[in-house]
């Protein structure tokens, strides 16, 4: 058990193996906790086992402790309590210091500001820009530039959610009527998984998100691409898919910039094909999974707001062709 704990101290768990300075500091702070805890636990268990070993020696009957041995015990217990207090004081100072250093990290001028709205059960993401036309809306996949601070503004229109990307920082709740923010910064490129961490109803388990940290140039290129309206249908099949989309039920909830579809109830699909995952990090974004998701979402995420859509085979193929072209 102890061995497993110490192993945990150096393995690849996202909370401990951070992708950014904030995560690293928290992990470092925890290791201090861990070492102190291990010393205390081992000390107590060894003492306990030793006490249990020395059983029933001497006469039976009730022991009347003599004053000298009680004094020794008093000294022992007092020392132990004193050490406990000192250890707690050290941890308290370390905790406040870590909190302050995280606060300083979070107070850096952000290079990018993202507004995230948690909804049952997906993440509505808007990249903020002083020029309204440059604001960009996407869902469930967030790209950030490596080495730059990203300010995330959190809001919820329905229930309480919690934004958590363990490799980058602690969690922050999204509470209706409250404005919370959290700063994240990745120090290396990579894809980091995140997840809603506050119980939010039926599909709390499948409310995931991806953070893709990439070099600043790649990030800017991505942002530029995402700001563009959707790619027009390239083939007749895709054109028919477009017609199925705007003529069918999809258009009631989803938006595709550059078409008539402008509803904001569901995720924005303007660049759906550029994302790695579907359904808030539940399915890989492949045509097969997408087809299954469109036709029978309730078997993948029972209770999801996405209704089952009974489409004919050719309509479905056309729709897939169209959505697959939304790069």
């Amino acid at each position: 058990m102890l061995v497993a704990f110490s192993l945990a101290g150096c393995s690849g768990l996202p909370v401990l193996d951070g992708g950014g300075a904030a995560g690293d500091r928290i992990a470092g702070h925890w290791r201090l906790h861990l070492w102190i805890a291990l010393v205390v636990l081992i000390g107590v268990v060894v003492f306990l086992l030793d006490a249990m070993r020395r059983r029933a020696t001497g006469a039976a009957g009730v022991l009347r402790p003599d004053a000298a041995s009680e004094r020794r015990l008093t000294v022992g217990v007092s020392v132990a309590v004193g050490l406990t207090a000192v250890a707690l004081l050290v941890l308290l100072v370390a905790s406040v210091a870590t909190g302050r250093s995280l606060g300083i990290l979070g107070a850096e001028t952000p290079a990018v500001t993202i507004e995230i709205t948690g909804r049952q059960w997906w993440w509505d993401v808007t990249y903020w820009d002083p020029v309204p036309a440059h604001q960009m809306r996407t869902a469930n996949e967030i790209h950030i530039p490596v080495g730059q601070t990203v300010l995330v503004k959190l809001a919820s229109p329905d229930v309480i959610h919690s934004f958590w990307v363990p490799a980058l920082n602690g969690k922050q709740d999204l509470i209706p009527s409250r404005k919370n923010t959290i700063a994240i910064k990745a120090d290396r490129a990579g894809t980091f998984a995140g997840q809603c961490a506050e119980y939010c109803g039926l599909q709390h388990a499948h409310m995931r998100l991806l953070i893709v940290a990439e070099p600043p140039e790649a990030f800017q290129a991505w942002l530029q691409a995402q700001r563009q309206p959707a790619t027009p249908p390239a083939s007749a099949l895709a054109q028919r898919g477009h017609d199925v989309f705007v003529g069918g039920s999809c258009v009631l909830c989803h938006a595709i910039v550059g078409t008539e579809a402008a509803a904001r109830t569901g995720p924005d699909l303007t660049h759906l094909a550029s994302r790695a995952m579907l359904a808030a990090g539940t399915l890989p974004n492949t045509p097969g999974h997408l087809a299954g998701w469109i036709v029978d979402p309730q078997s993948v995420k029972p209770g999801t707001r996405m209704p089952a859509n009974s489409l004919g085979a050719d309509d479905l193929q056309a729709l897939l062709a169209y959505l697959g072209g939304l790069r």
Partner: protein, 636 residues
């Protein structure tokens, strides 16, 4: 007017034990059940009911472990899973942990302080029926698919009117009403009993540590429970009559719920844990064959825990976006509470180390408790730190932590206490071998179940998820935990077999099989309905070890229910008091209140109906009937 103790201590006058047994006992059969005013039979019923709910909650846990054993399992869907984990938490907290502690308390405390009954025996019975009705209501609802599904903490707005249609959350809110009434009743019972009914000589500084623990717990109940009753009533009103306590658009606040809930929720943990420390102190002292080391420090630690327990609630809310200074205050308070707990642990260790250990199963449970509880306490200190808590809050790390402190910190001592007091309850000795086996299996199963959860939490697995994806890498840890859960279940079955075997064919126990020091062992096993033929007197907190041939109190009548009321501080005898006997009215009042509370789920008129029914039944309850025989209350 008080009378010096000596005046009542006359040489043993013969008392009529048959008459005592008749007036303090309960009538046979169903009537006795419904009307009982005997604290022991009510407590035994309470314990069996609470363990029944514990078993049901355990079955739910097993279903959850089955569902989570492997990614993408389909044992249950999200709708049922959410009901299951909500029911598991609510059952364990409200229908098992608090009631079982209070049930053991109402059984043992009167015996330990040397009196004949609890202070308000009818109210005691009323509390049991309210508890039973509440528990049955929520479980029947669960079977009918109206089980609450918003978590045992029922955060708004998810639990509010907009996102939890139907009556599921209302059932939960009223469950709170039921169980909190029961808890408050038991708390009042324990406080008045300990303060006013102690036998002569048992001044506050001679009270056994278990009595101290129950006293502190009862005070915590009285201060903590109103917060949750207010909160759950506000929630029910938001849902039923469209009030706006938690609606931010109309000036309400969803965070208000969290503050109220955790102002109760955190002390709740100590309400469960402090009685367990009482068990441990009692058992450790008995089997170390010496008085507990550091009695005064232990008492002060209990009281300090009771106070500090109310200053920590915000550490459940570190992720909600609080100002850093405020959060630091709660970090400091959360770490500070480790000091009184540490003092207790060190005192137990000192007692064990300096005593003459007799290694029996109850002591094994306590040793296991110390190891597990220290581990759980240390992860608790980790979470007091805001930065780290914001990583592991609402993850399986927290699940691991609170099962370490609740199963390790409360259930292990409880099982030890049940084995320890089983001879007193039943008059028969439990099997030592089965006791050791159940401990070993439970210890292994427990650690295998809950240790991997620490790693799952650090690996990013949040709580309250009904399944997870294969690519998360959580499969191994979950499979281990599920295997551990199966072993844990086997351990509980062995324990149950031991209890059943004890009751059916255990060896006769005798009055004091463990050679223990507290007064409950000074009477027969099981105790007679009147507990003691003569009220004992004491001159030490380890009464039976300090002196033989203590004088006893005589002069209490043996033909009416009479108890000795004493001073709250010094326990000098004050007067004799007539105590009410059995009555059907407490049961009828519980039924009336139950009808009102359940009707209030569907219509506000339930409050009116309940008030009318309670008014009628309480009138019956308190209708003056004159004194049962001749002499009225004799105040000396």
């Amino acid at each position: 007017m008080s009378v010096p103790a000596r005046a009542l201590e006359i040489a043993h006058e013969p008392v009529d034990r048959e008459s005592l047994a008749r007036i303090w006992g309960q009538p046979p059969g169903l009537v006795g059940w419904l009307t009982s005013a005997n604290h022991k039979s009510v407590s035994i019923r309470y314990m069996i009911t609470a363990f029944g709910f514990f078993a049901l909650g355990g079955v739910l846990a097993a279903i959850m472990r089955l569902q989570l054993a492997w990614p993408d399992m389909h044992v249950v869907g999200p709708d049922l899973y959410n009901q299951i984990f909500t029911m598991h938490g609510s059952t364990m907290m409200f229908l098992f942990a608090v009631p079982i502690m209070e049930a053991v308390g109402t059984y043992i405390v009167p015996l330990m302080i040397g009196t004949r009954n609890v202070a308000f025996p009818r109210m005691n019975n009323f509390g049991y029926w309210i508890f039973l009705i509440g528990g049955l209501m929520v479980w029947v609802a669960f079977v009918l698919n109206i089980g609450p599904d918003a978590g045992w903490f029922a955060y708004v707005p998810l639990a509010g009117p907009g996102y939890s249609p139907g009556k599921r959350v209302d059932i939960w809110a009223q469950l709170i009403t039921f169980t909190e009434i029961a808890a408050l009743v038991a708390a009042v019972e324990i406080i008045v009993t300990t303060f006013k009914l102690r036998c002569p000589g048992m001044a506050l500084h001679r009270m056994p540590l278990f009595v101290w623990a129950m006293l502190v717990t009862a005070f915590m109940v009285i201060f903590a429970m109103p917060a949750i009753m207010v909160a759950s009533t506000m929630l029910a009103m938001d849902r039923l009559v469209d009030t706006h306590f938690f609606n931010p658009a109309e000036g309400g606040d969803p965070l208000l719920w969290q503050h109220l809930f955790w102002f109760f929720g955190h002390p709740e943990v100590y309400i469960i844990f402090i009685p367990a420390t009482g068990f441990v102190s009692t058992i450790v002292s008995t089997f170390a064959r010496r008085p507990i080391f550091g009695y005064t420090a232990m008492v002060l630690s209990l009281v300090a825990t009771g106070f500090l327990g109310f200053g920590l609630w915000v550490h459940h809310m570190f992720a909600t976006g609080l100002p850093q200074l405020g959060a630091s205050f709660f970090t400091a308070a959360s770490m500070m509470i480790a000091i009184p707990s540490g003092i207790q642990v060190f005192c137990w260790l000192a007692t064990l180390r300096s005593g003459r250990l007799v290694m029996r199963a109850p002591l094994l449970y306590c040793c296991g408790f110390i190891a597990i509880f220290v581990a759980g306490g240390l992860t608790g200190v980790m979470q007091a730190s805001v930065p780290f808590d914001r990583q592991v809050h609402d993850t399986y790390f927290v699940v691991a932590h609170f099962h370490y402190v609740l199963i390790g910190g409360a259930v292990f001592p409880l099982l030890g206490a049940i084995l320890y007091w089983l001879p007193k309850f039943s008059g028969r000795m439990p099997s030592e071998r089965l006791g050791r086996w159940s401990f070993a299996v439970l210890f292994v199963g427990f650690n295998l179940t809950f240790f991997p959860m620490h790693l799952l939490g650090l690996g990013g697995m949040p709580r309250r998820v009904y399944t997870y994806l294969p690519e998360t890498g959580w499969a191994t840890g979950n499979l281990l935990a599920s295997i551990g859960a199966a072993i844990l279940a086997i351990g509980f079955v062995i324990f149950l077999v031991n209890v059943v075997r004890t009751l059916t064919r255990g060896a006769p126990a005798g009055d004091n099989p463990w050679g223990a020091s507290t007064l409950e062992w000074a009477t027969t096993s099981p105790p007679p309905p009147y507990n003691f033929a003569y009220i004992p007197t004491v001159d030490d907190h380890d009464a039976l070890w300090s002196a033989t041939d203590r004088p006893v109190v005589t002069g209490l009548r043996d033909d009416v229910r009479e108890i000795l009321v004493s001073d709250a501080i010094d326990a000098t005898p004050d007067h004799r008091q007539h105590l009410d006997g059995g009555s059907i009215w407490p049961f009828l009042t519980a039924v009336g209140a139950g009808i009102g509370i359940i009707t209030a789920i569907f219509t506000p008129w339930g409050v009116t109906i309940g008030a009318i029914l309670c008014a009628i039944t309480l009138t019956g309850w308190f209708w003056p009937r004159g004194e049962p025989s001749g002499e009225a209350r004799t105040s000396a």
